[in-house]
């Protein structure tokens, strides 16, 4: 059954590549706009061993991971703090709901003025974009903690920190992890947008914009996009796997919310 899915999935991928190949080779679609799949894949293969492109990928990943880690380090404690004071938690939620819809790419022009160093600029924008999904998931998760479990612990004489550590945080953790996963995919969008628009030295987005301004190479652009997709897929699958391993006991509930 599982083998069947793998085989069919591979067949589907080959089929799609074959369709692109035919469309391009027969001239149904302009070959400069949509190059044959074999050309795209050959260029992608060449990029994989191109040291310059690998430096670009490294720079993008560094900013992505740095900004995301910073957001987690700030948003989770902040969420716990705000969430454990009921009056503050409700009000903070309203504030976050107001801040969240501001599209983070709208802040790129501002970030260009504020930060000279491209890595810092990228990380700040990622930090801003990631803060809200993690914060809001933390706030909601702490509100959903089973009150009976908290009261039971209190009845046995445990203090507030112990209740937080033994009940609230473990039960909120899977939801927080879901927030981090959402934030990670948003962060990838933000980092590539920033690189495309604000420039800098290294980055996947900079590779793409330089290729485009260099003129005429759609196959190189699509090969770059191919690797960006692989990065996105790996990031998502990696976080999902981590979440599954860490919260095996909890996976059913966490998935229901995601």
């Amino acid at each position: 059954m599982n083998l069947r899915r793998v085989v069919l999935g591979a067949a589907g991928a080959v089929g799609v590549a074959a369709v692109i190949e035919t469309l391009s080779r027969t001239g149904l679609v302009d070959a400069t706009a949509l190059p044959p799949a074999s050309t795209i894949l050959r260029e992608a293969g060449r990029l994989a061993v191109d040291p310059e492109f690998l430096v670009d990928v490294g720079a993008t990943l560094q900013a992505w991971f740095g900004g995301l880690a910073l957001a987690v380090l700030v948003a989770v404690p902040l969420g716990v703090l705000l969430g454990s004071v009921p009056l503050l938690g409700t009000a903070a939620q309203a504030l976050v709901e107001l801040m969240r819809p501001v599209p983070s790419v709208a802040l790129i022009p501002l970030a260009i003025l504020l930060f000279a160093d491209p890595t810092r600029m990228k990380m700040s924008l990622i930090f801003y974009a990631c803060l809200w999904p993690i914060l809001i998931n933390t706030l909601y998760a702490l509100r959903e903690v089973d009150p009976v479990a908290k009261d039971s612990l209190r009845a046995f004489g445990f203090g507030t920190p112990a209740v937080l550590w033994r009940v609230s945080l473990p039960s909120a953790a899977p939801f927080i992890a879901t927030g981090v996963r959402i934030a990670a995919s948003v962060a990838l969008i933000v980092v590539i947008s920033t690189e495309l628009f604000a420039g800098g030295v290294d980055g996947v987005g900079i590779y793409l914009s330089e290729t485009q301004s260099g003129g005429g190479h759609t196959d190189l652009l699509l090969a770059g996009a191919f690797w960006a997709g692989v990065l996105g897929l790996l990031a998502n699958l990696g976080l999902l796997g981590l979440q599954r391993v860490a919260f095996r006991w909890h996976s059913a509930r966490a998935e229901a919310v995601a």
Binding site: R4, R5, L8, G9, A10, G12, A13, G15, V16, A33, L87, L88, T90, A91, A92, Q93, A94, L95, L98, M99, R100, P101, V102, P103, S104, V105, A106, L107, I108, P109, L110, I112, L113, L114, S185, L188, I189, I192, S193, L196, F197, V204, G205, L208, S209, T211, Q212, G216, T218, L221, L222, G224, A225, F226, A228, G229, V230, G232, L233, N236
Partner: protein, 285 residues
């Protein structure tokens, strides 16, 4: 699944209107006070520091009004500039979103109905969803040149995947019993899709459409930042290039307001259209 659960609510004694108003005000104050405090602190700090990059909110709001909402009452207070910017931006946004939504639902439903199609295409689709939409922007600029087509295509291609995959997922999850029942009653294929499958998948489809709408706003801004002459994004970048910081902030605030409005409007629509569904779910649980 009888309707016994529903009337319980109306059986509650009606509250006095005065008390309800007071409760609503208290709820509002409880939620809004921090926002008010934040705005006041923002105003005071920016005034005290006097930094050029961070104008105080009062200044931003006055520029915002001047820029977009200073028009005559007959134009709903919109200036000519606002009509230009909003109509350009929002037209691209909604055309891209609607096209992606329609395509996503149709293709997603087809894939969700057929197990073999799903097994064949799922890996490719998951991969396409994982491609961060901005990476394709240089490609679309190259193929379609700068302009409206490029912007609409960027938006549509970027937001179609959440709708498509969510629809496929929702359609696949339809209860076989419901489908069999429909078949027994002799419902044709088209009616089965219209009256059983799509309504049952609707909550998932709506979730996909909502994610798509917020992505569409991001991509609208991004595609306008790259050389376009009208639209809120181009206003933003124009202000940055001429160092008119209050105008740039006004653009940021306006985009935030738009995001908030879209989200609110969509949630109202969803609650309205899916009211029967939450009711049905409550009865089941």
């Amino acid at each position: 699944m009888s309707g016994a659960g529903a009337p319980a609510r109306t059986a509650l004694p009606a509250r006095k209107p005065g008390r309800r108003v007071r409760r609503a005000t208290r709820g509002f104050v409880e939620r809004a006070w921090l926002v008010a405090v934040a705005v006041v602190v923002w105003e005071l700090v920016t005034r005290a520091v006097g930094e050029n990059d961070f104008p105080p909110p009062t200044k931003i709001v006055s520029v915002l009004r001047e820029l977009w909402f200073g028009g005559p009452a007959s134009h709903l207070f919109l200036t000519d500039n606002a009509v230009d910017d909003f109509s350009t931006s929002l037209t691209h946004l909604f055309i891209g979103w609607a096209a992606a939504g329609a395509a996503g639902v149709v293709v997603g439903a087809a894939i969700g109905r057929s197990e073999i199609l799903n097994d064949l295409l799922n890996p490719v689709l998951e991969f396409l969803r994982a491609v961060p939409p901005p990476t394709l922007l240089p490609f679309f600029i190259m193929v379609f040149q700068l302009g409206a087509t490029m912007q609409v295509v960027t938006i549509a291609f970027g937001v179609v995947w959440p709708v498509l995959l969510n629809t496929a997922d929702g359609v696949r999850g339809v209860e076989p019993l419901q489908l069999d029942t429909a078949r027994v009653f002799g419902l044709g294929r088209a009616r089965r899709i219209g009256t059983v499958i799509l309504p049952a998948a609707a909550p998932k489809i709506f979730a996909g459409l909502r994610v798509a709408l917020s992505f569409a706003l991001i991509l609208m801004v991004l595609s306008e930042l790259f050389g376009s002459t009208a639209g809120i994004g181009s206003e933003l970048i124009d202000a940055q290039r001429t160092f008119e910081l209050p105008r740039m902030w006004a653009g940021i605030v306006m985009l935030g307001i738009l995001g908030l409005l879209f989200n609110g409007a969509f949630m109202l629509l969803e609650r309205r259209l899916l009211a029967w569904h939450t009711g049905a779910q409550r009865l089941e649980s």
